[in-house]
Assembly symmetry: C2
Homo-oligomer: 146 residues x 2
Amino acid sequence: MSATLQNRDRLTREQAQGLLDRHGIAPTEQRLEITRLLFARHQHLSAEQILAQLSMQASQVSKATVYNTLKLFAETGLVREVIIDSAKRFYDSNPNPHHHLFHTDSGRLEDVAPARVEITDLPGLSPAMEVVGVDVVIRVAPRKAQ
Amino acid sequence: MSATLQNRDRLTREQAQGLLDRHGIAPTEQRLEITRLLFARHQHLSAEQILAQLSMQASQVSKATVYNTLKLFAETGLVREVIIDSAKRFYDSNPNPHHHLFHTDSGRLEDVAPARVEITDLPGLSPAMEVVGVDVVIRVAPRKAQ
DNA sequence: TTGCGTGCAAACGCTTTGCATATTA
DNA sequence: TAATATGCAAAGCGTTTGCACGCAA
């Protein structure tokens, strides 16, 4: 999205407030801090990572609030929850449709342009049901020497 | 795969042993029991569900052994680990390439023919890395009344 | 007898919950 | 002041680990 969001360490308070407003989320101190951090660039962070970075910059946000906030953000569609590893969740600040490439050796998660994956319609799907999300995860590992 | 595997409550001991042999897994009592249960049909079971079904049929398999066995099966490629919900893992007995449709309301997991999803090659991928798996999860929910 | 598999219970890591306090409208 | 958000600690849950025992090669 806008290039102004790239190459910054954190969003300004005003940018963060704008994002929360557009999603109808009350802009509390803690939510603004989390937003400023997570949306500084397109990235995938876990609750743990956010907690660690917030305490590094001396922002007082409790563990419960980080979890509550990320859950709220995911429910309102502000962020996308990415489930790769059954041990932890990542929260993705990239609002554009895209898929993921997961490096199984390092745990690194990378975005993949959505054009490379095509989902045709699902003729068997009941009309009472609707597709709420399509998650594509491509797992890669270092090629084995032999 | 073979229709002989469908419509049975459990595999025979011989069928289970054949599967383990083909994957180089030593056929212990407990591994055979788990195999006979999981491969009775194409299905997605969690460790918890396997544990519950085994104890119902009076097969003595401990929790640790169920987890160890499923992990071993996944590593050798006998079963496919499916991560949908960050809370638990499912183990898929369908050996054919396919994708998944997840009913977010009921937690039900359904197979989707792979032909409906096409992954083109990934030109950005380093030659030192190889794709070890592609997981596609289509999340569906009941259509909201309005 | 050496190695591998198993069982039990305890430990672990991530996430959620209960409840009192603080903040906001 | 009524409603919502926060913080802390404890609980919860699926999973893993440590270690002793048992079994097979």
